[in-house]
């Protein structure tokens, strides 16, 4: 079981920096970072008009399903996926086992370029995620959580409308 994930603003900014650069360097339309449980972590590029919550959930579903397929044939995972459409394509890569990097691109770019740039971005993201994991582990060990402060009244108030 993974530890609970907490994302602080500084880490989020680091991720945004990497994926913003990936959008530019890969000539991509948009880039998303999703976690394996279906939560959207970060987005960059032309994301307007895209239902990002559904995108995150379905990406995680696809990774989970193909991971199941991989195990059937004796692989542990399929870490890279490519979905080709008429106009837009999706390039999906797993990062550090728990995160998923999704690149949306069209004819302004190519699969080769996206692959090349994703490799570089993955190395940068892996470093950010490693730091994030260390932070989460030390917080779990110390037992501190931002939720220690909430009261039963806070929870009840959420349901009072």
């Amino acid at each position: 079981m993974d530890t609970q994930m907490v994302m602080y603003e500084e880490d989020h900014k680091k991720i945004l920096l990497v994926i913003g650069r990936l959008v530019r360097e890969a000539n991509a339309k948009a880039v998303f970072v999703v976690d394996r449980n279906g939560q959207l972590i970060a987005e960059a590029g032309e994301t307007r008009g895209i239902d990002t919550t559904s995108l995150a959930s379905l990406t995680a579903g696809t990774i989970a399903a193909t991971g199941g397929l991989a195990k059937i044939i004796g692989e542990t995972d399929f870490p890279v996926h490519f979905h080709q459409g008429v106009k837009d394509n999706l390039h999906v890569t797993m990062v550090a086992g728990r995160w998923i990097l999704v690149v949306v691109f069209d004819e302004r770019s190519s699969l080769g370029l996206v692959r090349l740039r994703v490799k570089k971005a993955m190395a940068d993201l892996s470093k950010v995620f490693e730091d994030l994991k260390k932070k989460a582990d030390s917080e779990a060990a110390s037992g501190s959580s931002p939720f220690a402060e909430i009261t039963d009244d806070d929870i009840d108030n959420l349901f009072n409308d």
């Binding site: 993974d2 994930m5 907490v6 279906g38 559904s54 959930s57 399903a65 199941g68 929870i155």
Partner: protein, 196 residues
């Protein structure tokens, strides 16, 4: 696995509706979707077969309000109930924060309920969770049907652990929100407890 994002000031939690085939899991989500303010909900996704049986999962993102300046968002998932979709059920339980078991009250579905409950316990264990420790509620659905088993009998069979349980009729909406609110409360209380 709840996800707390300080940057966007959001808490995201995952709730999974589990239960035997045709017990009304998708119906629960459809009712919630139909009755929720459009500003608070995202698009409902159903990956279903041509006969509307759930193939992989249904998904409904829902915003409940704010706690201490954090937006609380719940991602509701259902699993496919049919026995042979076990591989999909395991995948959907990944990262779950709370579980709703939807039982079919019809007396002839009692065995299917018990089988599904066992299956839930086993699949959770495979993901590293203990059913006795995760936020968990039971919903006895289809209470309106004439062949519904007596409530006490269902409780004895399905809820010996005494978790919070609710009577429901998902097609008319009775008990649907009570169930959801309770599991959401348990999840948030759990987050608070873990934070101590």
């Amino acid at each position: 696995m709840s996800f707390i994002n300080y940057s966007s000031r959001e808490i995201n939690c995952k709730i999974v509706y589990y239960g035997p085939g045709l017990c009304g899991k998708t119906m629960n989500l459809q009712w919630i979707y139909a009755k929720t303010n459009p500003d608070l909900k995202g698009k409902m996704i159903s990956l279903a077969t041509e006969t509307e049986r759930t193939l992989f999962f249904d998904f409904l993102p829902l915003a409940l309000g704010q706690i201490r300046g954090f937006k609380t968002r719940f991602h509701l998932y259902t699993v496919p109930g049919q026995v042979f979709y076990d591989a999909s059920r395991k995948l959907i339980l990944k990262g779950v924060d709370g579980v709703v078991f939807v039982a079919d009250s019809q007396i002839e579905r009692m065995e299917a309920n018990l089988e599904s409950m066992d299956n839930l316990r086993i699949n959770l264990k495979e993901q590293g969770y203990d059913l006795d420790k995760v936020p968990f509620v039971i919903q006895y659905n289809k209470r309106d049907l004439p062949n519904a088993a007596p409530l006490e009998e269902m409780r004895r069979a399905l809820n010996p652990m005494g978790v919070p349980d609710f009577e429901a009729c998902a097609s008319s909406g009775a008990g649907v929100f009570e169930t959801l609110k309770h599991v959401a409360k348990l999840i948030l209380s759990d987050l608070k407890r873990l934070g101590r």
